[in-house]
């Protein structure tokens, strides 16, 4: 039987659990977990009603009897729509190289599982979701981190990639952690460096629908053809509980990723796919209104924070906002705990996402405006109350 580095329960089943699964559970416990009960929660978005055409599309699908397995990689119309949009943005894809997944997380896991092994190394650009770190660790691959500075708006240097012997580059833009988009020219430079190094590139583009300003010129398609891209209908379209994401993959990678998807969950929920199709292909006024609502919240929150001498990392995409709290407390985790304990608010410490965001507090602008206002007022009181270091 295995060694027991993680105090596995001394039961029949406890002794049987796989060590990497126990390590994962321990990692999740060790990662900051906001206790939000009874607090003003600035970490979880409120639910916004979905537009009628999306809801109707879901109900119509049910009425049509779309309750069976769909095509394994996803409903063809949805794959075609995703592929067309991806291609127009400089990441060439076809319906055959596009797979719809049960949420963006599943897409990332499949991509990582496809390109990494216990013998390989992933080069991860911060800020990064703890889930991505967990996934790579679970697969057994090694992790190299790049921690670009907030002063550089989280754009890493090419040399960090050129000097790495990693097998894969994992990068997000726009980041759903920071809200910051890496400018297209910089992204091309970074991905170009990774491709030149022979790395697989996994680019999480789930934040693209969340951009306050629509994207400019498309990405260099010749380079984009080498990239595994990840997308999601959660943050951008508000389809959080419906669990629809996707990946596009270079032709030579697509079959392997498709096979892994089949092995993991066969196909993605049928009714959710039809809701996603309506969100992607239907009227767009609601998306503009959604963007405007986030924009208004951003402006109000930033103004409120500035009046209390807090600066923020100006976001290019919703829903994230990073508040610079380094002048209040050098340790964001201690500050977060204090905010919960003494001021009754829940925020996320930036260090949860890597060294790049140490000293920052992350809030989600999807929180309803009155709650946001009230929460920011309390953050302002911390400064008024003075640091407690």
């Amino acid at each position: 039987m295995n060694t027991n580095p993680l105090n596995r329960p001394n039961t029949v089943m406890g002794r049987a659990l796989a060590e990497r699964a126990l390590r994962l559970a321990a990692m999740q416990k060790a990662t900051f977990d906001t206790v939000t009960a009874g607090l003003i929660d600035l970490t979880q978005p409120a639910l916004t009603p979905l537009p009628e055409h999306v809801l109707q599309a879901a109900k119509d699908a049910l009425d049509r009897g779309e309750t069976h397995y769909t095509s394994r990689p996803g409903v063809p119309e949805l794959r075609r729509a995703i592929a067309a949009r991806s291609t127009s943005e400089g990441f060439p894809a076809t319906a055959d190289t596009t797979v719809v997944t049960n949420g963006g997380a599943e897409a990332i896991y499949i991509a990582l599982q496809a390109v990494l092994s216990a013998e390989s190394t992933a080069l991860v650009v911060e800020p990064v979701s703890p889930h991505v770190i967990e996934m790579i660790t679970f697969i057994g691959a090694k992790i190299e981190r790049i921690s670009p500075s907030v002063g550089d708006r989280f754009v890493p240097s090419s040399s960090a990639i050129e000097q790495s012997r990693a097998n894969a580059l994992v990068i997000s833009s726009p980041s759903l952690i920071s809200g910051v988009e890496i400018p297209a020219s910089d992204l091309e430079r970074l991905i170009g460096a990774a491709v030149a190094q022979g790395m697989d590139v996994i680019l999480d583009r789930s934040g693209v629908p969340c951009l306050y300003q629509p994207q400019g010129a498309p990405f260099n398609a010749e380079l984009g053809a080498n990239v595994i891209t990840i997308g999601s209908f959660s943050a951008g379209y508000g389809l959080h509980g419906w669990r629809v994401g996707f990946f596009t993959a270079p032709g030579d990678r697509a079959a392997k990723l498709r096979g892994l998807k089949q092995a993991m969950s066969i196909c993605t929920t049928a009714v959710s796919q039809f809701a996603a199709l309506a969100a992607l292909e239907g009227p767009t006024e609601w998306l503009a209104a959604r963007r405007e609502e986030f924009n208004a919240r951003r402006a109000a929150v930033v103004e409120q924070l500035r009046s209390s001498s807090f600066s923020v990392v100006s976001p290019d995409a919703y829903p994230a906002l990073l508040i610079d709290a380094r002048s209040v407390h050098s340790n964001d985790r201690e500050l977060t705990a204090r905010l919960a304990r003494e001021y009754g608010i829940a925020v996320e410490p930036g260090s949860r996402f890597g060294d790049s965001t140490q000293g920052f507090l992350r809030i989600d602008l999807g929180v309803e405006s009155p709650v946001l206002r009230s929460g920011i007022e309390r953050i302002a009181q911390v400064r008024a109350g003075g640091a407690d270091e």
Partner: protein, 395 residues
């Protein structure tokens, strides 16, 4: 031209499906996707949820309402007591449940004892975790029931898990209560964890009975029960499965679930609540429909000279095609090419099953009748070609 068997194309399941998609008027008896509609009360429940807007995020372990409904179902149907707070995990379909539990249990080098033939998605999950399968053959003579003596003979120092799938995919065999009791005793004596895949539990025929191994004394602590609503309620597209097991297992596997998938889709979870808590008449209606189809197909197989182990459950017939003299991979191609009938060859369920095919019960009787006629005709044509004397100049 005189076709010989060796000239008949051999084909795997993936290519068969691709070929089927390219052809018109194909009768599919391939995928295990019920043709029957999800019962109306379940669909209406989902539509109500959509109208009410309760479609947002749910806990990783699943909606408490669904876990409570599952606990009630387990007590009602299976004699299993499970705490909805700590001993149940809702998954995105049975396939994900299978993936998660194998990743949660299997370390490199661990052995999983697997009945053969088998649902080969387990192969992929076990391989990904670095485990090894130890196959236990089952046979037609015994209706593909697992023999505890054969299991015991294969238990070694690295054996960790015994996998039970009953009713079985692809064989449609079941493990009788006596066999399950013996397997439970064996698991306790040899300290094995048991995975009990009961996804087809609702479809038993001709009075067949089975019990859940987790309900037996001493088994709750070492058993993980896998189930879902896909097959029982014709809900394959909704993607709701679940795992039931000791709290330390559920807690650990929930961490993997949170990492790879966050949660099962919310609308589907509410639909599953209605499936489990609502009227159950539709399940018996479906079982009767499948039972009639099974009788029709068995009679046709008798007529064509195919043998089989009696299918006591599930949605399949595991037919022995040896009497045709044609390997199943080639017979599948022949049936698709000449008869427009898609049936998976046995090799999709283990390399050594080249003389078997898995036929599904998942078409209406009139379509199945057509399929049988087409298969019979294609087979007769093929045999006639085989028996033709070879003309001069064609040798």
């Amino acid at each position: 031209m005189n076709n010989s068997v060796s000239e008949t194309k051999s084909i795997n399941i993936f290519d068969l499906q691709e070929l089927a998609r390219s052809k018109k008027d194909v009768i599919s008896m391939g995928l295990g996707d019920p043709d029957l509609a999800t019962p109306a009360n379940i669909v209406e429940a989902a539509k109500r949820v959509i109208d009410e807007g309760t479609t947002g995020p749910a806990p990783t372990r699943g909606l408490l309402e669904l876990r409570q409904a599952i606990a009630r179902k387990l007590a009602r149907d299976n004699g299993i007591t499970a705490d909805p707070d700590t001993e149940i995990l809702v998954t995105t379909g049975g396939q994900e449940a299978l993936f998660l539990l194998i990743q949660g249990l299997i370390e490199p080098g661990d052995e999983v004892i697997v009945p053969d033939p088998r649902y080969t998605s387990y192969d992929a999950a076990i391989k990904l975790a670095g485990g090894n399968m130890v196959l236990v053959p089952t046979d037609e003579e015994h209706d593909f029931e697992l023999d505890p003596d054969e299991v015991e003979a294969r238990i070694g120092p690295k054996s960790k898990v015994l996998l039970l799938i009953s009713p079985n995919n692809p064989t449609a065999g079941i493990n009788s209560p006596d066999v399950v009791r013996r397997l439970a005793q064996l698991a306790i004596e040899r300290d094995l964890i048991v995975i009990s895949d009961e996804i087809y539990e609702k479809f038993l025929y001709q009075g067949a009975k089975q019990i859940s191994i987790a309900s037996l004394p001493g088994m709750r602590e070492r058993t993980i029960t896998l189930n879902g609503v896909s097959k029982s309620y014709a809900m394959t597209g909704w993607r709701i499965g679940y795992l039931v097991g000791p709290s330390e297992f559920i807690e650990t596997v929930a961490a993997i679930k949170d990492m790879v998938n966050v949660q099962a889709p919310t609308v589907s979870q509410w639909a599953a609540v209605e499936a489990l808590d609502g009227p159950q008449d539709s399940v018996e209606e479906m079982r009767q429909i499948y039972s009639e189809r099974r009788d029709l197909l068995l009679a046709a197989l008798d007529d064509m000279g195919f043998s089989y182990g009696t299918p006591h459950g599930a949605l399949y017939i595991w037919a022995n095609t040896a009497s045709t003299g044609i390997p199943a991979t080639q017979l599948s191609y022949l049936f698709l090419d000449k008869a427009g009938v898609l049936i998976f060859p046995g090799t999709g369920f283990g390399d050594t099953w080249g003389n078997y095919m898995r036929m599904t019960l998942l078409q209406p009787k009139e379509i199945l009748t057509q399929a049988v006629e087409r298969m019979r005709s294609a087979l007769n044509d093929f045999r006639a070609e085989q028996e033709k004397p070879v003309a001069d100049g064609e040798r």
